[in-house]
Amino acid sequence: MKVQMTVNCRQVSGEVEGRTLLVTFLRDGQGLTGTHTGCDTSQCGACTVHVNGQQVKSCTMFAVEAEGAEVATIEGMANADGSLSVLQQAFQDYHGLQCGFCTPGMVMAAASLLAKNPRPSEAEVRRHLEGNICRCTGYHNIVKAIMAASGQHVTAVAAE
């Protein structure tokens, strides 16, 4: 069946099966391979995208359920001039990523948090990341990056 939606402000469409997941549509159908699949039980959050402004695990949603929706992925998160957004820049500044595989999901989850709660506490950041697993960083620098992106004072990297 045919599905169409807006992805990163661009109208897209494609043929899918009823069982095709949104993440598969984005990766294989649209070539947007920044969104990753890290598990098959909706636990890891590597596939996190925004659907109509809501944070969604794109492995838990069929592509056809996104018919007509506004979808945002990591590929659409940079500034219009291609430079890193404040949040992305904070991830680099605070070494909030290592292997990079969970990173797109982390950025999408963090963007969603900051949209609702512009100055979250450390505990609020950690709670919000409950559905996003990182195996590399121990979350330390991810939490710092998100706090810094929200304009809060964070100890400089490599100075603790």
Binding site: Q43, A46, A78, H95, G100, C102, V125, G138
Partner: protein, 788 residues
């Protein structure tokens, strides 16, 4: 000097692509016309496989071919890379490890058949129509039961389920036993080092491709060491010469050891692509990963420490059962032996040590190296038994350690377990750890916790590890079937830019940023003039890859050696142009000058001359500026450090919360402190995961109970605290050119005993003394221990 040379916390250049969704992981690669494979895996642990009926499946839509074991005649088994010789001088038992089950199934998850189809869904659908005819056999899961005479055999052709019975150092056994006979105090501890799954966030992927025009094969794979895969798969499994086989490991989403090994799926995709003349792609699901990625740890140990009347350690002996799983994975036999027994001295002067390890086959997924590989197992038992001895003797655990430390003036120090530590200063890291953790102020925090109705405890561990694996001649004597050097080619282009082709592989470690810092420092140019190429056997020299915290210590050293050759040649070119002796040429800040004169040339002038050799000593020197070095280390490196954990326990639920965690490490010299700190923080989180949350669990029938993130408890953001990290104590390595030791595994090694010591300390202080609780210390276990 460059502003981003050695010692700078340079931001990582690779982050840009990862943060914008432009990483290129293996699953992001799709080849034109590719087919997809779905592996039918066994859902029973042990069975005789009588037949496989594919008649219904093979005609289903899109199915290209179904493979079973009979399709692999002439194909070798998956090889094991390390031969252990047992206590009696006999080689370990080494069963064949076929690509697919050959007449017998030996673990849940073993591949029984493979369906290749035009789409993945078609392959999955067809696999459901395959009918297996098998007779289930009793499974052996428990290691001690597996070595009983009447236990079912995992491999009929072997004499038993015992892979090897290893003694180390066998000649010391009688002396060790004698020391125990006269000891003033003996502390005995039995413990389990829980079975774990490494769980890099990127599941494994393999894509095989075949080019008929030149009869060459290419494998794209999620590997930490593409050359090792090329050698093992080409030479031992598929019989493809290395010049006809290219292995590419592009961006790899974490490894932690489990992506070192050569897996059946890699060989299958390469084999099937050639058979079908189509690219064949496999992407592991997480559920498949739990039952096919090599697992880690899984030791059952009895350790005993003997002390004299003055609390000096006089002897140590350990008996360990180590689970190999159903087959020997690539480096599995080395993990409980040479990567474990040789570390049993820890930081201490214990003069007599004997280690016995019985490696056992069971009907479980193969077990191999996971972050630390043998060293966490050694450190856990040692740092637990030392803590237990301190409690039994009524002395401060920090001071008992200090008393028995190898002293700063005793290096180099030869331990009784065959290794020589080159440098270290254990009191310095202990003192730093005690200071940063505010050990002295614990009583105040304890009182606050008590006032809130909580238990509080503090625990420490002081680890040693052996990194930078390893001198090839030494590991060859110990049974390694490989050399463990590393390589680098440094290619200087005409306009001065540099490409380094390294055999090390980066899958989160940030080599693309840190390696250029070293070259920038050596030549005096900015790091952005240096590009790192890795992960492709077609354009990097033969390398052994990344594991065992070896990248900077071995791979970095190879790069330094190659760069030294570059500099030496460039000086000769400069000397010719400047009409001076090359002995008088100095290189500083990217400029060659003649000592004592104002004559100089820029870096770019010399590199251009190397490729446009008009004014050039062609009689004595080849044009061009490209050098390769292979570096074989003369010893391991020995990082060490003090880890201190402080926990609160909720007495109503048994839940343990990590309140503070301090890591004071000695990594020798450091290239990029930001990256080093990230490595420690991540390693500590994995160690906390092992101590509190993670457990790979089988039932007695061999069913894997923890086969998804619904059942296997990964550390989440709320499970770990901010981690205080320090690396100011530095005793540089004496035998590699950078003085570096490696930092990748320390966090996972030092943290589990610190956490458990803290938990038990909290219970002791609350009047609920418990000698030991096995990991993971879940709320249920803690509550039960306190209430029974």
């Amino acid at each position: 000097m460059p502003k981003d040379g050695i010692g700078a916390s340079t931001k990582r250049r690779e982050d840009i692509r990862f943060l914008t969704g432009k990483g290129r992981y293996t699953d992001d690669i799709n080849l034109r016309g590719q087919a997809y494979v779905h592996f039918l895996r066994s859902d029973v642990a042990h069975a005789t496989l009588n037949g496989i009926d594919t008649s219904a499946a093979k005609d289903m839509p899109g199915v290209l071919r179904i493979f079973t074991a009979r399709d692999f005649d002439g194909v070798g088994g998956i090889p094991c890379g390390w031969l252990i010789t047992d206590r009696h001088g006999q080689p370990m038992q080494e069963p064949k490890h076929p690509i697919m089950a050959e007449g017998k199934i030996r673990h849940v998850g073993e591949i029984v058949a493979a369906v290749v189809a035009e789409t993945l869904d078609q392959a999955r659908d067809a696999a459901e129509a395959i009918v297996l005819d098998y007779d289930e056999l009793p499974a052996v899961i428990d290691m001690k039961a597996a070595v009983q005479a009447d236990a079912p055999k995992v491999h009929e052709e072997l004499t038993s389920n015992l892979c090897y019975d290893w003694g180390f150092v066998e000649e010391n056994k009688a002396a060790v036993d004698a020391a125990f006979d006269v000891a003033a105090h003996v502390t005995t501890l039995e413990l389990v080092n829980n079975r774990l799954v490494a769980n890099p966030m990127e599941p494994r992927v393999a894509i095989g491709d075949y080019a008929a025009h030149d009869d060459s094969s290419t494998l794209y794979t999620t590997s930490q060491n593409p050359h090792v895969i090329r050698l093992l798969m080409g030479a031992f499994v598929l019989g493809i010469p290395e010049h006809k086989l290219r292995v590419i490991a592009p961006d790899v989403g974490g490894g932690f050891g489990t992506k070192i090994f050569h897996y059946a799926e890699e060989a299958f995709c390469t084999f099937a692509a050639k058979q079908l003349k189509l690219p064949v792609k496999w992407t592991s699901t997480r559920s498949e990963a739990f039952m096919s990625d090599a697992h880690g740890r899984d030791h059952v140990t009895k350790i005993q420490l003997a002390l004299d009347a003055d609390n000096n350690f006089t002897a140590l002996r350990t008996d360990t059962y180590a689970n190999m799983g159903a087959y020997l994975s690539t480096f599995a036999p080395s993990v409980p032996t040479w990567l474990h027994g040789t570390l049993m001295a820890g930081n201490y002067r214990t003069p007599l040590i004997y280690v016995n390890v019985k490696a056992v086959f069971t009907n479980t997924v193969p077990v191999d190296a996971y972050r630390g590989a043998g060293r966490p197992e050694a450190t856990f038992q040692l740092e637990r038994v030392v803590d237990m001895a301190a409690r039994e003797l009524g002395v401060d655990p920090a001071e008992l350690r200090r008393q028995n430390f190898i002293r700063k003036d005793q290096f180099p120090y030869a331990t009784p377990v065959a290794v020589e530590y080159d440098t270290g200063d254990y009191e310095a890291t202990l003192d730093k750890g005690l200071e940063l953790s505010d050990y002295a102020g614990f009583a105040t925090r304890l009182a606050e916790s008590k006032a809130n109705g909580k238990l509080r405890g503090i625990g420490l561990a002081h680890y040693i590890e052996a990194c930078g694996i390893a001198p090839s001649n030494l590991v060859g004597q110990l049974g390694a079937r490989a050399g463990l050097y590393e390589s680098a080619t440094v290619r200087v282009n005409a306009t001065g830019g540099i490409v380094v082709m390294t055999g090390s592989h980066s899958h989160g470690q940030g080599h693309e940023t840190s390696f250029p810092q070293v070259i920038a420092q050596m030549i005096g140019i900015e790091p952005d003039q240096v590009e790192i190429v890795h992960g492709d056997t077609a354009n990097t020299p033969m390398g052994m890859g990344t594991y065992g915290s070896r990248s900077i210590a071995v791979g970095g050293s190879a790069m330094v050696r190659a760069t030294e050759k570059i500099i030496a040649k460039a000086k000769k070119i400069a000397a010719h142009i400047l009409e001076a002796s090359d002995a008088d040429i100095e290189l500083k800040d990217g400029k060659f000058s003649v000592a004592g004169t104002d004559k100089s040339l820029n870096w770019g002038d010399v590199t251009l001359a190397a490729y446009v050799p008009h004014n050039y000593p062609l009689k004595d020197l080849e044009p061009g500026l490209e050098e390769t070095a292979f570096y074989d280390p003369s010893n391991f490196t020995y990082p060490s450090g003090c880890y201190i954990c402080e926990v609160e326990i909720d007495p109503d639920t048994g839940k343990v919360t990590i309140e503070r965690f301090t890591a004071a490490d000695d990594f020798g010299n450091i290239i990029n402190p930001m990256i080093v700190e990230g490595q420690v923080q991540g390693g500590v989180a994995q160690g906390i995961g092992q101590a509190l949350l993670e457990n790979c669990s089988y039932d007695s029938d061999g069913q894997l109970l923890s086969a998804s993130y619904m059942d296997y408890a990964m550390p989440r953001a709320s499970d770990v605290p901010m981690i205080t990290v320090d690396h100011s104590c530095q005793t540089p390595c004496t035998h590699n050119p950078l003085g570096v030791k490696g930092c990748g595994e320390a966090g996972a090694i030092g943290s589990p005993p610190a956490v458990i010591n803290a938990v038990l300390d909290a219970m002791h202080r609350a009047g609920k003394p418990v000698a030991h609780i096995d990991m993971p210390v879940t709320p249920a276990k803690v509550w039960a221990a306190m209430n029974h």
